[in-house]
Symmetry: C2
Subunit: 423 residues, 2 copies
């Protein structure tokens, strides 16, 4: 039995009862013969409360001091968790990100990990302790300042430690049973996926699946760390994410992994752009300089009569105002007719590794949407994903229609193209 890294999110340690439940689960893994390193987030609403406090004393809550403030959250949860484990008769030590050797760059509030030197963690578990590590935080390489890793930071801490410690698995405990073929709140017949490749998981994460963030999956893929996403409440086997199929699952032909949707984006259309080299470059330099991450980009063929074309792209709704302002400011340099902004859209994505070898997949996808009366506004494809943009109102119907069309529904006898073994 080797070393296991476990990660528990804020909802799993929201109160004393939750912390005690997590402590029991960690001790169980230890009793089973594993060395255990547990990464923990701040308790429930702690982070939001700290952000509120910051807002009361300062209009600008960011930078070095904001990171110093937020990292108090994990400090509390990790110390309490270590105490709860000791109360069960096992030895535990908690470590800050800095003590755990999580070295980052100096970009406060969204630092990136550049090295992990887990010497103290290794010594602690070798001495027989359970090591508890604060997620979401690190220390900057040059200035030795405390940093936070931004969204998905705790998952990334767990995967990074798993890689640096040579863990046999990184278990991500959450409040759902695993990764599903679609959002179970939308599709009642969605099935838990038993195994999914890191590549497919990356596409699902980029396409709106909230269970794992892109960043942590990318890290795990690069260092070949298997992730096991599972419930901290039920204790059931969840979803394995890894580069290689596990056990008998290797025998199955995985084609379609799942259907993801995302209603957090808006669509910007730039109307009447001169169709000449360098136009797109100018536009997206303007957007990049405003530090906005865009998602889909679509350009239609230009009308021969006018020599003008339209370019559409999607971006987080929260960046909409900023993007429009930036484009208006450079209107003359770009030379467009008008801007259209639409935040009533949804993106629906079908993800599966076998997609490109199955030409019928795209056709089936569009037929399903058509039969459900859903109009398609934009289309974008990759090797293992097809995404469309529709009206936001249509999203639930569209996701259900596609889920059914690809035989992903849990009680359907036609689920032959699905790679999982069902619930």
């Amino acid at each position: 039995m080797g070393l296991v890294v476990q990660k528990y999110g804020g909802s799993s340690v929201a109160d004393a009862e939750g912390i005690k439940r997590v402590a029991k689960r960690i001790v169980e893994a230890k009793k089973n013969g594993h060395q255990v390193v547990a990464v923990v987030s701040a308790m429930g609403d702690t982070t939001d409360e700290l952000i509120d406090l910051a807002g009361e004393v300062s209009p600008v809550a960011s930078g070095r001091e904001f990171d110093m403030l937020l990292t108090a959250g994990e400090r509390i949860s990790m110390a309490l968790l270590a105490m709860a484990i000791k109360a069960l008769g096992h030895e535990a030590q908690s470590f800050t990100g800095s003590q755990a050797g999580v070295i980052t760059d100096s970009v406060h509030n969204k630092a990136r990990i550049i090295d992990v030197t887990p010497g103290r963690i290794k010594s602690s578990v070798d001495e027989g302790n359970i090591a508890i590590v604060a997620g979401f935080q690190g220390v900057s390489q040059d200035k030795k300042d405390i940093t936070t890793l931004g969204r998905g930071g705790s998952d990334t801490t767990a995967v990074a430690l798993a890689a640096a410690l040579g863990a046999e698995v990184c278990e991500i405990y959450t409040d759902v049973d695993g990764v599903f073929t679609a959002d179970p709140r939308v599709v009642k017949k969605a099935r838990k996926i038993d195994w999914i490749s890191a590549e497919d998981m990356l596409e699902l994460a980029s396409s709106g699946s909230k269970v794992l963030l892109h960043r942590c999956v990318e890290y795990a893929r690069r260092y070949d760390i298997p992730i096991h996403v599972r419930s901290s409440f039920s204790g059931l086997t969840g979803t394995w994410v890894s580069n290689r199929p596990r056990g008998d699952q290797a025998m199955e032909q995985a084609i379609i992994s799942g259907v993801a949707h995302d209603t957090s984006e808006a669509k910007v259309t730039i109307v009447g752009v001169p169709d000449k080299p360098g136009e797109a470059a100018t536009i997206f330099r303007v957007i990049a300089d405003a530090e906005i991450n865009i998602d889909m980009v679509v350009q239609n063929v230009s009308a021969a009569s006018t020599g003008l074309t339209d370019i559409s792209f999607t971006l987080p709704k929260t960046d909409g105002r900023k993007a429009i302002a930036a484009l208006e400011k450079h209107r003359d340099a770009i030379g467009f007719d008008s801007l259209r902004y639409d935040d009533q859209i949804a993106k629906i994505s079908l993800v599966g590794a076998g997609m490109k070898t199955n030409p019928g997949v795209t056709a089936t996808f569009f037929e399903a949407l058509s039969n459900a009366g859903v109009n398609i506004e934009l289309i974008s494809t990759s090797e293992i994903r097809i995404s469309v943009v529709t009206r936001e109102d249509d999203v639930n119907g569209a996701v259900r229609a596609v889920h059914t069309a690809f035989g992903l529904d849990s009680d359907s006898d036609e689920a032959v193209v699905y790679g999982g073994t069902g619930r």
Copy 2:
């Protein structure tokens, strides 16, 4: 203008308003041309809330993890304070005890400072920043674990940093105007002391004055750091504590500094102890082995007929049960008749540097108590202090009577022996 270390307690930074008020005060000192290092405690009830949380997950809240937990409190207050200062347009950086170079031994929950290496603080203020430092915490020299300094820890952090940085003064901001000749809640006519020697302040602190703790005054005395105790609300000049009188105060003959009282102690009397060499040693070894700090010790002369004597001592009420149990356990080795325990006592102390050269002081003290109808149960004296134990019920009347008898009342024309300059 040199460097000033300021310390703000939990009541001064209890909420966002308090933090903003403290930020303004710090900026004022900076504008006056000082380099400023501000040591801050946890906000108001934060520490108690964390202790409660610990109690919910573990029956034993102590040791390494408890320190990790508690230090989250200052992390929050110091980051918020730095943000509030930046919102006023000044540069500020916060530092944990570890980052500030507060090196301690490894005794968790009551660590002692063994070195201060404030290189980062020095660089920060030299670059023009205001440095905010977490009080009450440090890092252990051998294991690099986070430690807390126990009671009075933040004051001690401030004084230790002031010494290491060569500050011209350590300002302790609190919720009262300074050190008074008696507790103003008991004696309405108590006067604020403008200057008091470190020696007298040490005696007042040991005798029940709560404004400054013994530990921090001792540190300041040893490194010759002037302390200025003052209100964070009023901004008035408070009380200076230093080895040398300040300015024209040097010309005055300080005799009596003040009257302190303490109702937190209990009295143990060991009745019928054989009056032979080694008895007291045996008794106080038993008490010391139980890790109990005792205060006054009194032994009466033995009755010649029996060869037996009685030994009384005072100790914190919270240690009473433990002391009795320890003594009972060693009853045979010590060989006493019986134990008496009394926790309805008070200690009243008169402190003043000129005392031993004024034989009338002791007489005046006892006469004042006698006139007030207060019975004396134990007496103990030092070079600059007389203490008596009385009934707890008598304490307020006794303190007032002594305060008046020594001309300390603020509207009295007889205050000739008092060293301060009045309010």
